[in-house]
């Protein structure tokens, strides 16, 4: 009789231990998963404050203020004198592109002493998380928010409007935010996706000699990047009667890869089975186009002319094929993470009393070609770097200024 309660107690204790272990694992995973830089940045801010106080006060503080003013008056005119809290949000957050985007924004914020605190939130493509993330930034006293609003179809608009109503500077970038300037957000900064679509299509059709079959593959149904690019590509194809689209495309439909390599490889294999002869490829995501090219290799076909977003893996495939005597024409457009620098500069300037950068075309930038194997801008491959690495993000301030700034 007495053994039963004992056994159940042991079982209960073991269950408790298991739950505690699981909770610890979950907490440790959460700690670094979503907001990778927030804790470390906050910690470093706190440490800096402590050091200033420890050094004995007024003189050090004056010195610090002096630095801020110098920064404001010097090359970082966008960094104003007023201390601010900066909110950084990504609608996604779980891929190399998002990671690079965060690094680009933080490369700017760390150079501005006016940024006293940073709050970083990833929404993991969940609209609810994106909205609650912005609301949490508002309640934590953010003065400026830089956001990639791609968690869902215009999901961030109400939260961004709430922030605007509290006089917070909101700068969406890299994805169409919906809504209107002045009411829902302060300034929208992005690449010109229609111009990119035209650039890709005109170049590929030129490589095809103005005739043949062209395949465009885009991201998830409804996303604005693929929608704008598809519309522009369809326009260029109409201007070239010798060119035929393998699958019909418009602003509303295109072969969907979901920007997922496995989906892309399956889709391309199915399309290749139906249309064995394809002369040109356009794809708006670097990791996808790598899988698309693999499908051609798996089917034992020569890779045709490719126009896409830049990616290290794609450049390395190009290099390998070239070394094997199977070179294919490749043109890429920058993956544009570096535009995050200007989004951050604009938000910080407006909130801290600095001078915002004078962006071309009201912030919608035409990027032009990044790599072009035909004209000598050889694709950049680094086998030791991440397959998804984008080297355009290593551009200097002078180089990016030529593309994005007036004058």
């Amino acid at each position: 009789m007495s053994a039963r309660p004992d056994r159940s107690r042991v079982k209960g204790a073991a269950l408790l231990a298991l739950v505690a272990l699981l909770a610890a694992l979950v907490l440790s995973a959460c700690g670094g998963g979503g907001s990778t830089s927030s804790p470390s940045t906050s910690e470093s801010t706190t440490e800096a404050e402590t050091e200033t106080e420890g050094a004995g006060g007024a003189a050090a503080e004056e010195e610090n203020e002096g630095e801020t003013e110098t920064a404001a008056a010097g090359e970082n005119a966008w960094c104003g004198p007023e201390g601010i809290t900066l909110g950084i949000q990504d609608g996604g957050g779980l891929n190399a592109w998002s990671k690079e985007s965060l690094e680009q924004v933080q490369s700017v914020s760390k150079n501005c002493p006016a940024v006293e605190k940073e709050i970083v939130v990833d929404a993991d493509f969940e609209p609810q998380k994106a909205v609650s993330g912005i609301q949490s930034m508002i309640s934590q006293g953010a003065n400026a928010i830089v956001v990639i609003p791609d968690s869902g179809n215009c999901a961030e608009v109400p939260a961004m409007r709430q922030a605007m109503q509290r006089n917070i500077i909101v700068v969406p970038w890299a994805a169409d935010p919906c809504g209107t300037e002045g009411t829902d957000w302060t300034k929208y900064i992005d690449w010109d996706t229609k111009a990119a679509g035209r650039e890709w299509a005109e170049w590929v059709i030129e490589q095809m000699g103005g005739k043949g079959k062209l395949l465009y593959e885009g991201g998830p149904a409804g996303n604005t990047v693929s929608s704008n690019a598809a519309a522009a590509i369809a326009e260029v194809v109409e201007e070239n009667p010798g060119v035929e689209l393998v699958e019909p495309i418009s602003s509303e439909e295109w072969p969907v890869t979901n920007w997922d390599p496995a989906e892309t490889k399956k889709l391309t294999a199915a399309i290749l089975a139906k249309h064995p002869e394809i002369n040109g490829l356009i794809n708006d995501y670097g990791a996808s186009v790598e899988a698309e090219v693999q499908a051609f290799q798996a089917a034992g076909k020569q890779i045709p002319a490719v126009a896409a977003s830049e990616s290290n893996a794609l450049a390395c495939t190009w290099k390998e094929e070239k070394e094997n005597g199977k070179e294919f024409p490749l043109m890429t457009i920058s993956s544009r993470n570096w535009l995050g620098r200007y989004a951050a500069q604009f938000a910080i300037a407006e909130a801290s009393g600095g001078t915002p950068p004078a962006l071309k075309n009201n912030g919608i930038i035409t990027l032009g070609q990044w790599e072009n194997s035909v004209s000598g801008k050889e694709p950049q491959c680094d086998p030791n770097a991440s397959p998804e690495a984008s080297f355009s993000n290593k551009m200097t301030e002078e180089e990016t200024a030529k593309i994005a700034l007036e004058g």
């Binding site: 079982k11 269950l15 298991l18 997922d260 889709l267 294999a269 798996a298 998804e388």
Partner: protein, 356 residues
């Protein structure tokens, strides 16, 4: 004659017929969907799904359900790439770690379900979140390497013109099927799944068999993830997300009852073939994404729904012929499976279940 009728009415026969019909109809509905190139494109992915679905079959056969496929699959996919870091010499240790981690993940599920009595749905949903958290934590949000060259070449290889991933899936399926049908452990495994009470009464350690099912399932997901990584060369961070529903759909289409009991890994493999070819046909038709999802969903729902129709009561003259075989798929008679199997054991007289 009765034996033939029984075989035709078997819950595993429907998927064979449906798959055969789909392949016959494919070239007429969508030209090129049955061409050599189309099959070469479809089979590797079907092979990967089939490997993962073996694990789901074993768990469902034990009356469970495994929602941790995305987490364990992604761990396998990430580990096979990050451990060697592109160094071909480190592939073998990476494969061993993948197998160990997959098995350990499955064991964790099994312990939560069998030792602590947590519902499989809840236990595996929770563990899946942990596994995904571990993947994100360990990689920092992106994978810095490609699969090693030798692993890329192996997964892209062909045996007699057939993609090796499909061959691996076939071999594993046949081995597991033989293990279940030909070994004493396998037969006891079926008995435990059919009726844990009857199995316990016969002196079998029910927990041990259920634990084994979850561990083997974890192993199969991790291997499937590793295979996908090699085939894609640069895998995404969480490739397993796309494999949860297809594994469950393939298992149920293949004839394994969701309530546990009688199951067939071969039926599941055919279910995988059916789903993969269906996707191929719909892609070849150039259907819009919305239509694609609608067709796939409708066919899977229809396939599962039809299996629950009491055909033996609707169709005259079949009631007596197919009793236990058809009954295994019907939820209200699932509890009778154990009795049916026990009587089967008695009839075959080949296994002494009391020897434990």
């Amino acid at each position: 004659m009765n034996a033939l009728k029984s075989r035709v009415a078997s819950p595993f026969a429907a998927i064979w017929v449906a798959t055969f019909l789909l392949f016959v109809v494919s070239p007429f509905v969508a030209s090129g969907s049955l061409s050599h190139a189309a099959l070469q494109g479809m089979l590797p992915f079907a092979g990967i799904l089939a490997v993962a679905a073996i694990g789901q079959t074993l768990v469902i056969q034990q009356g469970g359900l495994d929602l941790s496929v995305p987490g364990i699959f992604s761990m396998g996919a990430v580990l096979i790439v990050t451990i060697p870091g592109g160094n071909t010499g480190d592939l073998l240790p990476a494969l061993i770690v993948v197998a160990l981690v997959g098995t350990a993940g499955g064991l964790l599920n099994g312990i939560a379900v069998t030792r602590f009595g947590i519902t499989p749905l809840v236990a595996t949903l929770g563990s899946n979140a942990i596994f995904i958290g571990v993947v994100i934590q360990a990689t920092g949000g992106s994978i810095a390497f490609k699969a090693t060259k030798n692993w890329q070449n192996f997964t892209a290889d062909k045996v007699l013109g057939i993609p090796i991933l499909a061959v691996i899936a076939l071999i594993l399926t046949v081995l597991v099927a033989l293990f279940i049908s030909r070994t004493i452990w396998g037969r006891r495994f079926v008995l435990v799944g059919s009726s844990p009470l009857a199995a316990r009464a016969a002196g079998l350690s029910v927990e041990r068999y259920q634990l084994g099912a979850y561990a083997a399932a974890g192993l199969s997901y991790a291997i499937a993830g590793a295979l996908l990584s090699g085939y894609l060369q640069s895998p995404p961070l969480l490739p397993g997300n796309e494999y949860l529903l297809p594994t469950i759909a393939a298992v149920v289409l293949g004839g394994t009852a969701l309530g546990g009991g009688r199951g067939s890994v071969i039926g599941t493999a055919v279910g995988v073939l059916f789903l993969s070819q269906l996707e191929q046909v719909i892609s070849a038709l150039g259907a819009k994404t919305s239509v694609e999802y609608l067709i796939q969903g409708a066919i899977v729902a229809l396939g599962m729904g039809l299996r629950n129709v009491p055909w033996n009561q609707i169709l005259p003259g079949r009631r007596g012929d197919v009793d236990a075989a058809v009954d295994t798929t019907s939820p209200d008679t699932a509890s009778g499976n154990g009795r049916a199997l026990l009587s089967e054991h008695k009839e075959e007289d080949s296994i002494d279940v009391s020897k434990t």
